[in-house]
Subunit: 341 residues, 2 copies
């Protein structure tokens, strides 16, 4: 009743009414401005950017192309799709750093491949042992501790390690256009998932901070964990045994297992993503299938059909044949990384 | 400008102002009413209801007991916790109905256990074969088709099958107090998950409709699926091979694998949930561990330590020793099912 001593006038009433409408306008102004500005500003104008914007508009507009919000499931490969994968998978760099850190406790590694060559800095020989060498490296560095301990090891590494070319944390060697895409999809009611061949527990400690993708929306490869009741409480122990490989034919399997829905949107960059893209292309109704082609040997790397990492051969042929959306990184991305270019 | 011919008066202005405030009040009235009314109206007043309400209040109030929204992970067993599990697990009833429906295509079952006894209506002999009999039943009825085909089989069954005692669809033999609890947790920013020993693909077709728990928040046991490219597109084929058993020690493993976070809230009803409850009890900070004790032989069933279904023996001892919240169904639930009591 603070105004009770004032005599209200017609003018005061009208002023209050105007004020009320102004409040409504101000309330919606940020939203209106955000919508009016470019949500994909790191993408050059062209058919790829237009295809993405059209898909989102189609999916969210009432009508025959509408996708109900619960079905707006978007899946992304990680290595080479959300962050870089050169000069080697970042998880392999982690494993190598771990071998070096753990070497004092493993004198036997001096005479044992692939550890011997890793410690000598000869990665080519170390990885010459093929899949067995990789599995040995992964099991020696990723198993034999609790899940809490491993999460801490990963978090410490990701906070301190630097990418050899760009000299920044690996968490900055992420694709700015793809971060904008993730944000734009979420702003339109999509639920964004990572579906990666990489280790699920290697990714979960940092995906929320970098991509705003929480742990429960990360699908990846895994090793077996075992519940154990210890004197100070229960733990999960990481065993040196493969549980699930979320790559190639495993990606649709992983999507079905972890998400239990057909994606309407998928983005990958290699033949390891081909089946996930085929699976999404077969989703009834409105859907989008995207493939990143690494064509920029100045700002990033150029590689595809004969690459040892992230090989894109069959996937490129199928994308061209089926009319999937192929990102030409050099042509379509105005910026690549957040830090320099 | 429909009012432009009317001379505005002070009274009109004041009326409009009142109208405006009234609009605001009406806008918030439903929310205010909902909050003021009892969110757990099917629970009798007592220590259990108070413990639940206190936990939610603690977790959502700024201060030392606060739980940040992303960490508000709540996990629920299904059989005996969200819906009933007597006179047999509902998924077993599904398997038996499937055996009967598939029998014409399997003449060999007439001489082959456990199918022979199932078809003769002698469940006791059929299940006398122990775990092998169960696995044979599950594999014969749950494998050998695509995931889409299986989802349709489940959806058709759940739409038509009736519970033998209550003569209503199984989807109505759910616990009304637990549905209220799920709603109350979600209204307070919790993400609700099912973590069940039951088949993940048996549950996903109906959990969203009944519990408002979407497929991607359902964790359960699974069989292996295999990606296959057919002439008319890709499919996932269900193989007769166990992939993961989400029971006992498997529940914390499943939580870690699928969710990747420590729950702060867990509810179960049997020794199969014990490790999940221990795992949640060990979550640092504010948490809640609940156990349903089936004590109502009139409205539901009374069973615990020596039951063949949903045995609660060790779990009851540990709950009493550790001070977990034990629901005495007879005492604590004003209503049990939505349909009659």
């Amino acid at each position: 009743m603070i105004h009770s001593t004032r005599t209200p006038t017609r003018a005061t009433g009208a002023h209050r009414l105007r004020h009320w409408w102004l409040g409504i306008v101000l309330l919606f102004l940020p939203t209106a401005l955000a919508a009016a500005s470019d949500p994909l500003r790191s993408w050059n104008d062209g058919p790829v950017k237009q295809a993405i914007l059209k898909f989102v508009a189609d999916a969210t507009r009432e009508g025959p192309t509408f996708v109900p919000p619960p079905e707006r499931i978007a899946v992304f490969d990680n290595d080479g799709t959300l962050w870089a994968e050169q000069p080697m998978y970042f998880q392999l760099a982690f494993a190598i750093d771990r071998v070096k850190a753990m070497a004092p406790q493993h004198p036997e590694w001096k005479d044992q491949e692939p550890f011997k060559s890793v410690l000598a800095g000869d990665l080519k020989t170390a990885l010459g042992g093929g899949e067995k060498a990789i599995v040995d490296l992964v099991m020696a560095t990723h198993a034999g501790m609790t899940t809490d301990e491993f999460a801490k090891i990963v978090a410490d590494w990701i906070a301190t390690a630097r990418h050899p070319r760009f000299k920044v944390p690996y968490t900055q060697v992420v694709y700015r256009p793809m971060i904008e895409l993730l944000n734009w999809l979420r702003a339109n009611g999509f639920k964004t998932f990572i579906v990666s061949g990489g280790g699920i527990e290697f990714m979960r400690p940092w995906t929320d901070e970098i991509y705003r993708i929480p742990p429960e929306q990360v699908v990846g490869s895994s090793i077996v964990t075992r519940f154990e009741m210890r004197a100070d409480g229960p733990v999960l122990v990481r065993e040196p045994k493969v549980d699930f490989i979320d790559d190639r034919e495993g990606k649709p399997v992983g999507i079905h297992k972890f998400i239990g829905r057909r994606p309407v949107f998928a983005f990958g960059n290699s033949d390891g993503d081909l089946q996930m893209l085929q699976w999404t292309a077969a989703t009834p109704g409105t859907h989008f299938v995207g493939l990143i082609h690494h064509t920029d040997d100045v700002r990033e790397w150029a590689y595809d059909r004969k690459s040892h990492i992230g090989q894109l051969d069959k996937g490129l042929d199928e994308a061209l044949a089926k009319g999937w959306t192929v990102v030409d990184m050099k042509r379509d991305w105005k910026h690549v990384f957040p830090f320099i270019y």
